[in-house]
């Protein structure tokens, strides 16, 4: 076991997979340096054929990945900020996600699309977004979004080894998280569709994603002192989604709180509430609650940014309402 921050843990995971399988390669903008340093200097070990710095052309980055995948390679493209997925959304939605199906199952596209997302350091409206709702709505994609450092590298291993396109969202704030990860070349895959119960509890089921997972665990710990026993679940993968774990928890607690950084309207959190309401209606003792960002773009100014996304007191308020 080695203790590393997420930036270097992910880098090490990429290294492991590139060493393991020659077909794995990285493609994206400025990877040799790496905006968040996840890919820094990997070209020194693997050459610029396998760490490809592209022109600034997101459609081409995704096209490169899709095309190469159809001829048997295992691309790991990066879109520098998740917000820029808009620049290659056709490649993601109309090509990558649908190709296998439209072509009658003739191909699998083992692509792992890495995208740093979420707010961090006042990056403003076009560099701070949470985009999971767009991606989980698209049949053909799998979506990983881990808020639990311990499992993030292993999920990346699984993503790279998965035969289908996987969207791998990395919350920028979590790059500084650290965790014990496997020894060199020993990072084990973490399966998709298996949520992580970060904290067991019997009173309220709190599902959180991304950077809010750690925050919610802390809040839950604090609330425990007040006699409230909150179960905190990190789904790790939004699709496939571990409904078993979530449903079991709701059956136990009868109460559901979902905390995400997304704009609330049309958020992934709504999908979750909706399937619980449909599938476990009778288990629910109270109205479920979603806490999310305001339905506004993310403002630049520090006090505004801070106000727009869920704050500790918003989460606590929701917990109190469910109590």
């Amino acid at each position: 076991m080695r203790n590393m921050n997420m930036t270097f843990a992910l880098r090490d995971t990429l290294r492991q997979e590139m060493k393991r399988d020659e077909r794995v390669f990285l493609v994206g903008e400025d990877l040799r340096q790496g905006t968040f340093r996840v890919t820094v200097d990997l070209h020194k070990e693997f050459g610029e054929e396998r760490v490809i710095d592209t022109p600034i052309s997101e459609k081409a980055v995704m096209g490169a990945a899709i095309g190469a995948a159809t001829v048997g390679l295992i691309p790991v493209p990066e879109i520098m900020f998740a917000d820029f997925f808009t620049c290659c959304f056709d490649e993601i939605m109309n090509q990558m996600a649908k190709m296998r199906y439209m072509f009658g199952g003739q191909c699998s596209l083992p692509i792992t699309l890495r995208m740093p997302c979420g707010i961090s350091r006042q990056a403003a409206a076009q560099h701070s977004q949470s985009i999971e709702a767009f991606l989980t709505h698209i049949p053909g994609l799998k979506v990983v979004y881990s808020g639990t450092a311990k499992y993030t590298p292993g999920l990346l291993v699984s993503a790279i080894r998965d035969p289908d396109p996987v969207i791998f969202l990395e919350h920028k704030k979590l790059y500084r998280d650290s965790a014990d990860i496997g020894d060199e070349d020993q990072i084990e895959p973490v399966p998709f569709g298996k949520a992580c119960v970060r904290r067991e509890g019997k009173d309220i089921t709190l599902v959180a994603t991304g950077a809010y997972v750690n925050d919610c665990v802390k809040i839950a710990d604090a609330m425990a002192e007040q006699g409230l026993d909150i179960e905190v679940i990190d789904p790790l993968t939004l699709f496939p989604l571990d409904t078993d774990t979530i449903y079991k928890s709701v059956e136990k607690t009868g109460k559901l709180l979902v905390v995400t950084e997304e704009n609330l309207r049309g958020a992934w959190s709504g999908e979750l509430v909706s399937i619980v309401a449909q599938d476990r209606f009778s288990a629910l003792k109270k109205a479920p609650i979603r806490v999310g960002a305001l339905d506004t773009p993310i403002a630049f100014s520090p006090p505004l940014e801070e106000y727009i996304v869920p704050r500790e007191k918003d989460i606590v308020q929701a917990i109190m309402a469910l109590k």
Partner: protein
Amino acid sequence: MEMNKDTMLDLYRQMWRMRSFEELAATEFKAGKLQGFVHVGVGEEASTVGVICQARLTDYTTATHRGHGVVLLKGAEAKLMYAELGGRATGLCKGRGGSMHMADLEKGILGTNGILGAGAPIAMGVALGIKYKKLDDVVFCYFGDGQSNEGGIHEAMNMAGALKLPIIFVCTNNQYGMWTPLTKASANVDLAKRAEGYGIPGAAVDGNDVLAVWESAGVAIDRARKGEGPSFLELKTYRYYPHSVGLPDPWRPKEEIEEWRTTRDPIDRFGKVLMAQDVKQETLEAIEKETVDEMQEAFNWAMQQPFPDVTQAYQDVYTNLAVEGRTV
């Protein structure tokens, strides 16, 4: 250019195969036997045949919404294509794709595409893959004059140039989008010019002269195989049918269509070249007839195929994950 007579006769046959395929598709679409949108390339045979018939089986190609010809001549079976157009279970893509999503990966056919320009970044990626694997295969990337203005074409061409990828960009310039003429869509109708901006050699070729197309494509293919990078071919041609079979076509002058059809038809023209080289008219007519029969037979087979079972609706979304069907 030297070309032996057998090859020439084969090119002639391939042009007819494409035309017969398309004519029958158009007819049967109008008769209500085929669904969806059907965009046929009748009139554009030289621009297709002259390029794609030089491809190896291991080479790759993408195709546009008007891509039946490319798919057929890169090696897909006509009967499976018709079955696909008819939405049959045994279609090339199990009936899931239809005209705009026809692929045959074993033959290197990466699909027609319903999104204009979308094939280009993908084709570029295939070329990247070929280079990665150190093979000497090449990729053909087809697009029309209209969609040459899509952003993805620009991104793909530039990146292909920057990485010196083995790809041939083939612009089938039939001078119109759906209804809008090229002259309205671009201030410079000399599309080959654009390639230079990316450091890619570009050639403008008479797209209705199959031998001219063959020759310029040959140069491009050679270059790509030798690792010297991409090329761009602009093939000027014309389509006889409306944009999509059955649509109105009021924006192209009747005389223009007539003129292309009667005086510049690529098959006619090539037939004359062959006759000047002592090929008999009967030989040519026999070829035509054989292709008509071939396609009719393929079509008949297709029409006897079953429609897919509804469980096929939710297969193949993922490789290793099941999607649920309906409960009633």
